[in-house]
């Protein structure tokens, strides 16, 4: 959308910008909750151990660390009964055959029970949170109100719909601050050693949430490039410095190209490490592989002295009693995801109030008409929950001549480049201690911390036996 708007030269109205920010803010709230509880928590939380918990002690723990609206002995007893009934049924469904009882699980039974109950509560909460996407976008997933020039949901700018949006936003943000963040801190306090595991060196964010028509200057979450962990020397992010390599990807060989020159000529093959082994191309920024996503955004914002992010990060480091360097890790990545959710979710209130003011004053323009030029080129850059996203379009004779996009999981999970440099996930996994190579829970922790958008394959070599274990991470 932004790439086409750039190519055809249309500026969207204020309301469209605000409504897009609200839709996208909702996406961050929703995605990060689902990632933490449903795609990542079970790497740290042992559900089976929750059956051994004392519900009264769990209630006391919950009172101490959490502001969750649910609690008390009876509540935790009922959750425990529900899990027990489930286990007794012998049908373990999605919880079968996992690494329960693994030595790397460190939480006491009570913390496991508290987290399990919040896993279930979050399943419901996320369905409610997604309603806000439907209010301004027609449905979730795949909202369908965004068009080149603005947004179509003009009829939803009415008091009834906007009030509903506000209440759902508030319920979601309350959950994030009163449940998600306390759970994150409680779990993290048992896994501080993960503040030294799973880090990478280079970080890239395009930035997101324009607060005027001036981009990138007005972005609430700023863009930037950090090289070799040097947050003292933050550089502006410049899309001209992006290239994609195909030497290890299933495409016809060629030199590394900027996306405007990018080619997509598939050449399928077998899985051959060292040769070609991935459908992902390998994106590089100034020839470096870059981690993108919550940690990249939070580091960039922190380095730039972003007031909200700085307060959140410093407060968290202090609470956990860990140094700034611990941010460059699996723990830092998972924490950054929670912290940016607080900051972005809180900021949504401002965009909402601006939208309400406009509506109150009779300013309801949501669309700017435009004409397709004969020829044009455009770039659309932003940051989505998983990281930096870029689209590049070339229009010739009113039709698309070339369209390339470089998405977050390509940055994080792409193969080695032509210079042999590993991608971020590969780099992050090097040196990860693995207790039992046949049950590589520790590998899941780091891979899942990137919120990968694919089922991906990794290999582990046992240094003693040199046996190669193939592990699939879902």
């Amino acid at each position: 959308m932004r790439a086409v708007e750039d190519a055809v030269g249309v500026k969207i109205p204020d309301n469209a910008r605000l409504m897009r920010n609200l839709l996208h803010g909702t996406q961050f709230q929703h995605d990060h909750i689902v990632h933490f509880y449903h795609l990542h928590a079970l790497d740290w939380v042992d559900i089976v151990s929750a059956l051994k918990a004392d519900p009264a002690k769990t209630a006391a723990l919950s009172d101490q660390v959490s502001n969750a609206p649910w609690g008390g002995t009876a509540y935790f007893k009922s959750v425990q009964n529900r899990v027990q009934t489930f286990v007794d049924s012998g049908q373990l469904g999605p919880f079968a055959n996992a690494y329960w009882g693994h030595k790397a699980y460190k939480l006491p039974p009570e913390a496991n029970l508290m987290a399990t109950s919040h896993y279930l509560e979050a399943l419901k909460l996320q369905a409610k949170a997604a309603k806000n996407h439907a209010i301004l976008g027609g449905k979730n997933p795949h909202p369908q109100s965004l068009v080149v020039g603005g947004i179509t949901s003009i009829r939803d700018l009415n008091p009834d719909r906007l009030a509903q949006f506000l209440f759902i936003w508030k319920e979601t943000q309350d959950f994030i601050k009163n449940v998600y963040i306390p759970d994150l801190l409680a779990v993290a306090s048992f896994y501080k050693d993960w503040g030294a595991i799973g880090g990478t060196d280079n970080f890239l964010a395009w930035g997101e949430f324009p607060e005027s028509d001036q981009e990138p200057d007005s972005l609430f979450m700023p863009g930037g490039f950090i090289q070799k962990k040097n947050i003292a020397d933050i550089k502006p992010a410049d899309q001209k410095k992006v290239t994609e390599h195909v030497s290890h990807a299933w495409y016809e060989d060629g030199k590394a190209l900027h996306p405007f020159q990018g080619e997509t000529k598939p050449k399928h093959g077998d899985y051959r490490p060292g040769e070609k082994y991935s459908w992902f191309k390998a994106p590089r920024y100034m020839d470096e592989s870059c981690e993108v996503g919550p940690l990249a955004r939070v580091l960039v914002a922190y380095a730039k002295g972003h007031p909200e992010i700085k307060t959140l990060v410093d407060g968290t480091l202090k609470k956990l009693d860990i140094p700034v360097t611990a941010l460059f890790s699996t723990l830092g990545r998972t924490a950054a995801r929670g912290l940016e959710t607080v900051a972005i979710g809180d900021r949504m209130e401002k965009w909402y109030m601006q939208l309400m003011d406009n509506v109150k004053n009779g300013k309801t323009k949501t669309y700017q008409s435009w004409e397709m030029p004969n020829n044009g080129m455009g770039v659309g850059l932003n940051d989505v929950p998983r990281g930096a996203l870029g689209h590049w379009i070339q229009i010739e004779k009113k039709v698309i001549k070339n369209y390339q996009y470089v998405v977050p999981s390509t940055w994080n999970l792409g193969p080695r480049c032509g210079n042999g440099k590993p991608g971020p996930v590969e780099q992050a996994l090097i040196g990860t201690p693995v207790e039992d190579p046949k049950q590589p829970l520790e590998v899941l922790r780091t891979v899942h911390s990137f919120d990968p958008c694919v089922a991906c394959g990794v290999h582990i070599i046992d240094p003693d036996s040199n046996e190669v274990y193939k592990i699939r991470v879902t």
Binding site: K131, A134, K139, P141, Q144, D156, K470, I471, R472, T474
Partner: protein, 311 residues
């Protein structure tokens, strides 16, 4: 058992009355008579053995799984913990790698002829299926091994039904819908994503009556796909009165006029979006002022485009 179920519901702030309202809605969506409402409620109140589901993900974006996670009645946690036994689902399962694959084959064997196989995503067929693999096995191979053992195959979403975006031109991998790729009969719930209420309706129908609902010639349940979007659209009267939106954001758009002239594919698209709506009845694309793009029709990427142009 039944009281226990209602007690549990009430703890969540859901009254028995609300629950019966949902059952009535679901019964009506399925096109069953209202005398079936208590039976539908029974399905949710007391499953003896939770019906086993094996959910396969092939060439797709996981949006259909995401859609299922948004189901609000029953809540998705009820679905996963209390109602169904989701034996295999790559996104939500805790197991990974070899342990995950083990489950797939073990549960297909254990529940042979009894499980419902839900498939999300299209299958690559060219070059022996080389364009789509999981753990070294092609989608084609996994499909051939698992799908024939199922009691019923439900294709969730346009990709599994008809190939979806993977099968759009130029389709280098030779992607096809599951029925086409494997030569099997499937129940099809197309949409991008489909409405989860139609999956729930299908599954409840199956548990309740022991058979799948009545289907049209494309394998779509008539209860959900029996009428066009256009025939059920609440903007239909504007079409009849020739009151059209010609530009987004215009006065006509604000008045909710018909979107036919900005490219609405509602007249050619069979689905119950206007009546079922998405996300707990919150909205649907036309309500949000956007034309229907025909996402539940076969080959819509090739046949319904260019979007925004009158048919």
């Amino acid at each position: 058992m039944e009281n226990e179920f209602y007690n549990r519901l009430e703890k969540k702030g859901v009254s028995r009355r609300d629950f019966m309202k949902f059952c009535t809605y679901l019964t009506a969506t399925m096109g069953l008579s209202s005398s079936m409402v208590p039976k539908v409620a029974e399905v949710f109140a007391a499953p003896k053995e939770r019906p086993p589901i094996i959910w396969l993900n092939f060439g797709e974006c996981t949006g259909c799984s995401e859609a299922m996670l948004r189901t609000m009645y029953p809540w998705v946690d009820e679905l996963v913990v209390d109602l169904l036994s989701i034996e295999y689902h790559e996104t939500i399962m805790a197991a990974a790698g070899h342990q995950a694959e083990e489950i797939l084959y073990a549960s297909a064997k254990k529940y042979k002829g009894k499980f419902v196989c839900v498939v999300e995503g299209a299958i690559a067929t060219k070059y022996d299926g080389a364009y789509g693999k999981i753990g070294g096995k092609t989608f084609l191979q996994i499909g051939k091994e698992i799908i024939p053992q199922a009691a019923a195959v439900v294709c969730m979403g346009t990709c599994a039904c008809f190939g979806g975006i993977q099968a759009a031109k130029p389709n280098p991998g030779g992607y096809k819908g599951v029925g086409d790729a494997l030569g099997v009969k499937t129940l099809n719930l197309p949409g991008c994503p489909p409405n989860p209420v139609n999956l729930i309706g299908t599954v409840v129908n199956y548990i309740l009556l022991g058979k799948l609902p009545a289907l049209d010639n494309l394998g779509r349940p008539l209860f959900a796909y029996g009428k066009t979007v256009h025939d059920q659209c609440d903007r239909r009267s504007h079409f009849e009165n020739e009151e059209f939106v010609l530009e987004f954001g215009s006065e006509e758009a604000a008045l909710g006029y018909c979107l036919y002239k900005v490219g609405c594919r509602g007249p050619e698209t069979y689905n119950n979006c206007p009546t079922a709506k998405f996300n707990g009845g919150t909205s649907w694309p036309v309500q949000a002022g956007h034309p229907c793009i025909g996402c539940s029709q076969p080959n819509f990427w090739d046949q319904m485009t260019p979007f925004y142009k009158e048919m």
